[in-house]
Symmetry: C2
Subunit: 144 residues, 2 copies
């Protein structure tokens, strides 16, 4: 299951993607519109800022905007920030590989082989879905 943090992040980002104006959006507006806990959202946006998924403008009339085009921000990008690797085991993570603590011999591990296939399938989907697609979907269904 994804974390609450991930849900909040995705909703905030979708809001930014749907708005897509020229000037930044204030955190208060996002929190109110999407009914997100404001202070928690601050932390989340701070994390999203590090890898450049959002960028911020400080001071009066500051706010947040997407760090790059919505079509270049995938669900995988977001979930990796909020929830860590997509993989079901560190030994099959592409972005954050690590040997399992008690692994005997990775190359013959039957568990690993199944988890690797699962990772590839999940990543293929989540990397192919981006914020632009999701925002367009929302518009089509009249939710915005």
């Amino acid at each position: 299951m994804i974390s609450q943090k991930a849900r909040y992040a995705l909703r905030a980002l979708l809001y930014l993607a749907a708005k897509a104006g020229d000037h930044p959006v204030q955190i208060g507006e996002i929190a109110e519109a999407e009914k997100l806990p404001r202070k928690f959202l601050e932390q989340i946006l701070a994390e999203l800022k590090k890898p450049g998924i959002v960028r911020s403008q400080r001071g009066r009339s500051g706010g947040y905007s997407l760090g790059r085009p919505a079509k270049d921000i995938s669900f995988a990008d977001v979930l990796r920030v909020t929830d860590g690797p997509l993989a079901l085991s560190p030994c099959v993570s592409v972005m954050a590989y690590r040997k399992c603590d008690d692994c005997f011999e990775e190359s013959v591990c039957a568990i690993r082989k199944a988890l690797l296939a699962a990772r590839d399938a999940t990543a293929q989907i989540l990397e192919s879905r981006n914020l632009a697609m999701a925002a367009a979907q929302l518009k089509r269904s009249g939710a915005i």
Copy 2:
């Protein structure tokens, strides 16, 4: 990521699948062979017993064996017991559907659509891999 419990469960089950004798295997043997914490393994096998993944024989010369043919125990079956639903959100879980707490309108949720596709991809893989395949793999690679 899968839990430690899931790893232990899979290793114990693979041990049973590879052994595949007629009489049950004692928990002490499994724990020692696979280097698993014995008392923790007890709890795990108890959980696997409820849905019939393993069955047990009590008393002297008792032990555990697979509850059905290894080819009929998928990775998905095991992970659902140890780690809960495969889905990334309750609203896309097939085996344990639940509406998200703060969901506005499920049918137009853009997040849900992506997570649903991810679930299907993951489930397709994990339901198609079973203990018999994994055990055969181990034998082929000479690990047993």
